[in-house]
């Protein structure tokens, strides 16, 4: 009951009601979900899908559609949490989360869930556009894809917490959010196959949970691979989550304690 009420508060009231009240922004956001699909579709067509396929991607359209659909879970959620914190500082409402029994951990958790919810719509739209472009997703891989997506979200939650911790200290200018919103498209196996990257960048790519998640998601959704076949990817993502979640929560807590000690909770 408590969780449902909080989902109503965070997802419907503070999330959807506020988001939808900025209609122009809402329309532009939805356009920003769909337009890159066509951009990369025509890029693939112009460059020749065959050339890209030689890098071991299979069909390039299906490659980037899955990449774009799930990349938002990482970049947008991390940006959402840090932007949310910054907004609350500007509104003067952050202190009221600290005072409430929900606390700042509740704030982090439900803000992340809002990010995930918004990106689930984003992912569904992009996958639907993919279907319209002729991609066939295999239902047999849905369970494995769900497990991989859940682990991706868990590790993203940890990174979002670290990003929130940085915002609490720097107020503006967030390298974590910047990295994940900018470089993941290039290096996260999203629209460029890792094989297309210079060798030294591949090692950076391997340190990003999204790289592994997309490999698994493509295997599951496009080739119908099950949990057993994707166990190595699932193990790597679980390891990422085991590191990022405790590290994220610790840094988030330290950042809030520091803000309380320095009296900078409401500064922006």
């Amino acid at each position: 009951m408590g969780v449902l009420s909080k989902l109503y508060a965070y997802l419907y009231l503070r999330g959807f009601r506020v988001w939808a009240s900025y209609r122009t922004q809402a329309v532009l956001t939805m356009l920003s979900w769909v337009l890159p699909v066509f951009t990369y579709y025509f890029t693939g067509t112009a460059l020749g899908n065959e050339l890209v396929s030689r890098l071991g991607t299979g069909n390039y359209t299906s490659f980037f559609v899955v990449g774009l659909a799930f990349q938002g879970y990482v970049s947008s959620t991390i940006a959402t949490v840090s932007q949310r914190l910054r907004n609350e500082q500007l509104y003067g409402t952050l202190e009221y989360y600290v005072l409430s029994p929900s606390g700042v951990l509740g704030f982090l958790t439900y803000s992340s869930i809002w990010g995930f919810a918004l990106n689930s719509v984003n992912a569904a739209i992009i996958l639907a556009v993919g279907v319209a472009l002729g991609i066939r997703f295999l239902p047999s891989g849905i369970i494995a894809a769900s497990v991989i997506a859940a682990l991706l979200m868990l590790s993203t939650f940890g990174i979002a917490a670290m990003s929130g911790a940085v915002v609490m200290v720097t107020k503006q200018g967030n390298p974590i959010s910047f990295f994940f919103s900018t470089f993941t498209v290039l290096m996260g196996n999203v629209v460029f196959p890792i094989a297309a990257l210079p060798w030294y960048l591949r090692y950076v790519s391997y340190t990003i949970p999204l790289t592994w998640a997309l490999q698994g998601l493509r295997g599951a959704l496009l080739y119908g691979e099950g949990i057993a076949q994707l166990l190595p990817v699932i193990g790597i993502l679980a390891a990422f989550a085991a590191v990022t979640v405790p590290l994220g929560l610790l840094s988030y807590r330290v950042a809030f304690d520091r803000a309380r000690r320095d009296g900078t909770l409401s500064q922006y």
Binding site: T93, Y96, L99, G263
Partner: protein, 279 residues
């Protein structure tokens, strides 16, 4: 009802934030109802409701009802409980008619009353109010003061204010602060009595020493009107008239700053805005 008064930078807001657990004390200890604000912060938070001073404080795109419902849920209420409590509080603060309006359409006074309603959402025993009437018009101030007065029924209220009339009207006890220290405490009448016998005196400008500058209420260029305790007014005043002491007189005496560079600002039409002597 306790009031914290003092000049800007005295530490009033910092003290309220320490008591509400938002700031950790750098030294010393602070207790709310016997509970250490550091080691028992969660319990303290359940007991207090805070109203901070800010232009915003709420989700402007949401209605008053939605704002209060949101905070009610943060305090562990179900959606229906929070909504019902929100409606009840909107009536208490006189915003029942505007509950469904987005708060971006609220006046500053209405926003302030809604902020007070938010502090009451979990029915706390202690309310901390930081300058509750700052920046709102006289009629709205009166409504907010009436609301604040009604809060003290069965609760402890601690407020900060720069308006001495407001403090005198509302509070049972007053703490005067300066530079992070409490320099005087007592009931309004006890604090007022610290001013002793108060006079209004007209002096020649050259007779006003820097130490007296905090008592200046009018400066005509050649003569200066002081309102000060009788024993600080120098001899040779052009005119002296005894007046009824007010809280502001005691406040200026206790917390006001004097000194060589603290002279009243003056403005002359067509001239510059200057500090100190005649233009």
């Amino acid at each position: 009802m306790t009031a914290l008064v003092g000049p800007n930078g005295a530490g009033k807001t910092t003290l309220l934030r320490i008591l509400s657990t938002l700031i950790l004390p750098t030294s010393g200890e602070a207790y709310v109802d016997g509970m250490d604000v550091v080691s028992r912060a969660a319990e303290v938070r359940r007991r207090i409701g805070l109203v901070t001073v800010s232009d915003r404080l709420l989700y402007y795109r949401l209605s008053g009802l939605e704002n209060l419902t949101f905070y009610g849920i943060l305090y562990g209420m179900s959606v229906s409980e929070a909504r019902s409590r929100a409606r009840e509080l909107l009536d208490v603060v006189g915003l029942g008619k505007w509950g469904d309006e987005p708060t971006m359409h609220y006046s500053t006074g209405m926003t302030r009353r809604l902020a007070i309603a938010r502090a009451l959402i979990h029915d706390p025993d202690i309310i901390l109010l930081d300058e509750p009437t700052l920046g709102i018009d006289a009629v709205s101030s009166r409504r907010v003061r009436a609301l604040v007065r009604s809060l003290s029924d069965g609760r402890t209220v601690v407020l900060t204010s720069h308006l001495m009339k407001e403090v005198e009207e509302l509070s049972d006890s007053i703490y005067v602060m300066r530079a992070g220290q409490v320099i005087a405490r007592g009931s309004p009448s006890e604090i007022i009595s610290m001013a002793g016998r108060v006079v209004e005196a007209v002096l020649r400008r050259e007779d006003v020493t820097p130490e007296l500058s905090k008592f200046v209420v009018r400066d005509d260029g050649e003569t200066v009107l002081l309102r000060a305790p009788a024993d600080v007014v120098p001899g040779g005043a052009i005119e002296v008239r005894e007046v009824e002491p007010a809280l502001e007189d005691a406040y200026v005496l206790l917390a006001g700053e004097g000194g060589s560079d603290v002279r009243p600002y003056q403005f002359r039409r067509g001239g510059a805005h200057v500090r100190g002597g005649p233009v």
